[in-house]
Amino acid sequence: MAEVSIKLRGSRVAAILAGSWRRSPTSFECSASELKDIAPLLINSGAAALCWPRLKHSNLRKHPATAKFQETYRLNTLQSALHQRAIEQTVALLRSAQIEPILVKGWCAAQLYPEPGLRPAGDIDLCVPPKQFASAQITLKNFQDEPYDVDLHEGFAKFGGGNFDQIYRRSQLAPLGETNVRVSGAEDHLRLLCIHMLREGAWRPLWLCDIAAAVESLPENFDWDCCLTEDRKLADWVICAVRLAQQLLGADITSTPIDQRAKQIPR
């Protein structure tokens, strides 16, 4: 009985998040009790604001249960502006120590959503060359004025590895406020999102939305061979994660080789 309830709740969470990353998501209709049931899951996992565009024109738009979704959206909007300032300062600090970090996850994932308030901003994930990791740590530690929540990574080991220099060569500069920050190329970004989600136990449905948003905004020249790497295990992880985004959230993968490749994965 409990298992059915968990499944039902999970399917409701998936239903409200389906397509939520798109520019004009369809209105989501459900009962107030259903929304109240899944609200804590969505709020505590950082996915509540994504639901707001689907709820604001729904039958529940004036219901008290919906207010928290709007408030989270507002907070995320402000938080994204504060987060941007923090990134600018942190990157400038590292650059002053001749370290060029690559920004990954949070802010990069948020750029694929139509509005900054849809996704919560968390810590600042920065990958630095392994040989500069120690000096990057020291540089940040000495920065006591505004201790931002920086998650510094030694290369890309935590995200499936890969040669830092190669990933750096594929990286690009993205405008952020008054400056530019270095972000990974689309191929590395998608792979990193998939591996990160699976390694963390996929406990946040937001991460699956990030993958769905990334898959639906791939550049025309996206290199799938590069994304899936030569490491078969990692490639399978990416395929599984993207397939999950399709099956649970309705991500459009028609222009990808994922369906074809998924058939080769043992079940």
Partner: protein, 177 residues
């Protein structure tokens, strides 16, 4: 007094504020006081015109044109009173003219015009940790708790070292390449 009020040139506070504009409201974060506010369209319109050069009468005219409805100065004064209370104006620019405006009276007065009176809501201030894992450095969020580095989170449970997550259960498996 009338002459004094006519000379009032409200001025928006610019220091230590982060402003984000949405479709029908404006969000403001006060970095000094760590408070977040949400201004509805009417409040935001008044606030934007507080440039230290425009009188209350002129702001009223601008508002009237923008909202396409007859408005008197009392609406602008209500907005200024709130903006001042939330410290979104340069204090000196309105300190001399504290006009008493009754919201209840204005609700009755502007009800037929369906005018949204100025409203400023305080919202819970954003914290950096809200979107983060909330776990100590090196650990990962797992359900309600955190897993140590290198340990997998499996359906909300931390697996033992060396275990994998298979079908939502921690298991020791050998991955064949």
């Amino acid at each position: 007094m009338r002459e004094t009020i006519e000379r009032v040139l409200p001025m928006v506070r610019r220091d230590q504020l982060v402003v984000q504009e949405l479709a029908d409201e404006t969000l403001v974060y006060d970095l000094e006081r760590h408070k977040a506010h949400c201004l509805n369209e009417t409040s935001a319109l008044v606030w934007k015109h507080c440039d230290g050069k425009t009188t209350v009468a002129e702001i009223t005219g601008l508002l009237e044109r923008k909202l396409a409805t007859p408005i008197e100065e009392d609406v602008v004064w209500l907005a200024l009173t709130q903006l001042r209370r939330f410290r979104l104006l340069e204090e000196e620019s309105v300190a001399i003219a504290a006009m008493s405006v009754s919201r209840r009276e204005l609700v009755r007065k502007y009800l037929p015009a369906a005018l949204a009176l100025p409203v400023i809501l305080s919202i819970a201030a954003p914290t950096a940790a809200q979107g983060a894992s909330g776990c100590p450095q090196g650990q990962v969020r797992c359900g309600a708790g955190c897993c140590p580095a290198g340990r997998l989170c499996c359906a909300g449970v931390c697996c033992a070292a060396g275990e994998s997550c298979v079908g939502g259960v921690c298991r020791t498996v050998q991955i064949l390449d």
